[in-house]
Symmetry: D4
Subunit: 146 residues, 8 copies
């Protein structure tokens, strides 16, 4: 049984590579997709494709519509979403992707440091499972295939 897993969140660490390598080592039949993880590229894709925009807000609007199209196509195909919150930043796209998964009834694993348990308590309650480390998420993936 093949699963498509969408990896939302944190783009400043290599957690996606870690999950993919471990899933491969465990021979789990999983394909992974992600939002654009190159921050600079995701910020400039609008002007790159649509040309120079009149101001910073319309530049953002141009970029975001292309990023959202990409994300929507990928998430609609996913069987499972894993969203990782880090210690820093507002991470509203992570919250948006996680909440979209919940509302679309896509199973969701939330990874967040214990320190964030209070501000994420409502989102965590809506997630199917909340864990603290990438390793714990890997163990769950493995358990699905037992």
């Amino acid at each position: 049984m093949n699963l498509l897993v969408y990896l939302a969140g944190e783009i400043h660490s290599n957690w996606r590579e870690e999950i993919q390598e471990k899933a491969k080592a465990l021979q789990l039949d999983i394909q992974f997709v992600s939002p654009m993880t190159d921050h600079h590229r995701s910020d400039h894709i609008g002007e790159e494709i649509l040309g120079k925009q009149p101001n910073a807000i319309t530049k953002d609007e141009a970029a975001s519509q292309i990023n959202n199209l990409r994300t929507t196509i990928l998430m609609k195909k996913a069987d499972l979403v894993i969203a990782l919150f880090g210690e820093k930043y507002k991470q509203w796209n992570t919250a948006m992707d996680a909440s979209t998964a919940i509302a679309l009834q896509k199973p969701l694993i939330l990874i967040r440091p214990e320190s964030l348990h209070h501000p994420l308590k409502e989102l965590s309650n809506k997630a199917d499972v909340t864990v603290e480390t990438v390793n714990q998420a890997i163990k769950i993936l493995s358990y699905i295939y037992e």
Copy 2:
């Protein structure tokens, strides 16, 4: 035509009262609902109803399940969602409510200060309309009834 409008977000200012008073002054046939806006009460509702919990995380889990039940019932009945982001805090519940509205195909008005345009660009692109002030949101409510 009666509308039920769910007011998500910011609980440290009186913007909900402002919207309700102005809607009343304009004689718009609108009923407003909200998440629990008493921060202390929303944090302690779990232990208040379910009793003392073993630690801070399970206390949060207890509170959040009751807050989410309340929110879900109200949002399912809403015709329109208005979500206001302020300058401070991570506001992940606001992002969660806004994203849930989008995924449930509930029309969404996003209110955010211009300063937040960059971190909120993807969410803003998914919202039906993004404005910067409560007054602008009121004008849209009024336009619906013209």
Copy 3:
């Protein structure tokens, strides 16, 4: 039994008033809603609420997001959609509203002059009923209540 009927299309004639008066004369328990029919107002609502925009395209974007929000709320509440095409103009909003009604499984009556039967043939085939005059649409409304 009360019905809410959304009247899409043509804004340069008084067909909406005609339908409403005749429905009233026939004592049909129907409430009617419409997209913004004041052309000038619908074109300028964006700048009126969101302020001066940098160019004509962003001015249009500002107006259209507010018009679409208004339309979405009204169409979601409708039990029936009536869309009238006139002889002139591209009328893409009429085509959009009619197609949206079909995809949302809202019953649809299409009113179009016989002269347009060829370019509207696919849309006409998807509509529940196609007629040529407002009077014929009124007779159908009356038949629903027999």
Copy 4:
């Protein structure tokens, strides 16, 4: 990851071939489908299959039901819809296909010349992305696969 892309609109230029060749050159794993692009054939398919019809309207009705059946099957399978409006014609089938995609929550890229920005403003606002050239659409397809 394989995608099925439905190409709606304009049948008097070779933009579909252009997209397909460039997608192939970029080695994107995409399969393309379209409405019937042979205008004469799409107009006469009704009488060809169902036999001579009594008049021009019923001839159109015969053709359109077969064209719509074909289109419905293809669009239901699509992961993404690209709709191209040209400078000429009423193009109501393009508007219908684009609006159907939106209502079915299929991601939609709209291609239209800048000159049409005003009459298409509401449809453009509902599309996920609006561009002006086929090349820009290709770049978006490529970005999805990065």
Copy 5:
């Protein structure tokens, strides 16, 4: 609690009046709707509204699109469907209404004479309840309100 009940089927006996009178006598808070039960009127409504048609088939097409529009609006509002098959006729509209109710997940009571148990066995198995008399259906309506 108010219920809207759609009464499909048999138009050559007065079973609808019987149900309505008994429901009234039992003071059940039920509103009843039906397809057009005047056979002659339902056959001629197409030409009455759309004018003389070229042949018998297009006359039927004209009538049926108006009858279907009427039926669709009513059934979408119904909380419960009761479909009565009589001994005679093919009654394909009854089968169509009953099957539509099932596919739309509207609860369905089937009334049919015992003699029809074999040809209706699959439809009966899909119905929520199958009874043989109008009186039995009334008893079920009454039981819902206990």
Copy 6:
């Protein structure tokens, strides 16, 4: 704001009366519905309406189809489901009603004695909130209206 609450489960105690009285005392605008709580009547409703059945299994089949019709109509109208498990019996109808509520995305409050926490752990995890007493459920109802 009026809510319709479906009270599933336990029919050998007066917990439904308790909830209704307390909700009334608190002036909560709630209407309550339930499955048939007269055990003898729910077991015999099949033969009462459909007549003597050939054996115990077909007698049960006759009763259950009428009970299920009744339950389906009521649950589809509910805004919230409360399911109470007692210490005794297999209570498979309670499990069925609770699971149906979850799958239909109806918010669910589960009431169960602490002693049942282990066999009900998966159902409890899927419920929105799990409590141990009727009083706790009342407090949640009250919190929704704050």
Copy 7:
């Protein structure tokens, strides 16, 4: 592009074989499925699997639940439904399958002799296309692949 086509209706002629052979000759990438077409087997499958039943009605109930399970699984997987009505019999299962396809938004081709146009007028109006011969249906299948 592979399609799964469900062939409903008429079991006393070899029209299914005809369609399958012609589709093969035309090299259309189509897989066909059907309800049980062995009449005797479909009538007795209940007792064959569940054992002797107390009477004719319960024997029918036993058979129909297994036939319906089989049909439901197959129709849910279908991309297109073709339903053929013959001159004889009540054919309520054909009407049920065709109506189910419509309500599930599965594209539907109806094949019926011209002589049945009047009693099938409402069902025909709801079908995507109505034809009179198997050959016409084949031509439509071929047109989908052009």
Copy 8:
């Protein structure tokens, strides 16, 4: 045609192996999935992955969220669900899985000993087919492929 069948229920006998072997012997193109059938492992998976929990209830909560995630992913992919009730235990997970299948409109075969016909009567009435032995379920699987 490949089917994915989810086998819910009873974990203390080898009925899953029996079904899989017989399906293989009959060369049915079926893939089977199940909830975790190792009772000890399913009870401890929470602490194994999430670490030591403060008490028995939170230990159960930890395990159940992971078991539910696993089950949800598998059931969403299934074409058919088979649920087996044994003579012993409360088997609320079996009731939950069976009811979820019904509410998600997944076809359901219920296997239960005749002795349980009374307490399972409502669930049995909602199932597509109820049988008493694994062999009968196998015969139905085989009939689907005829």
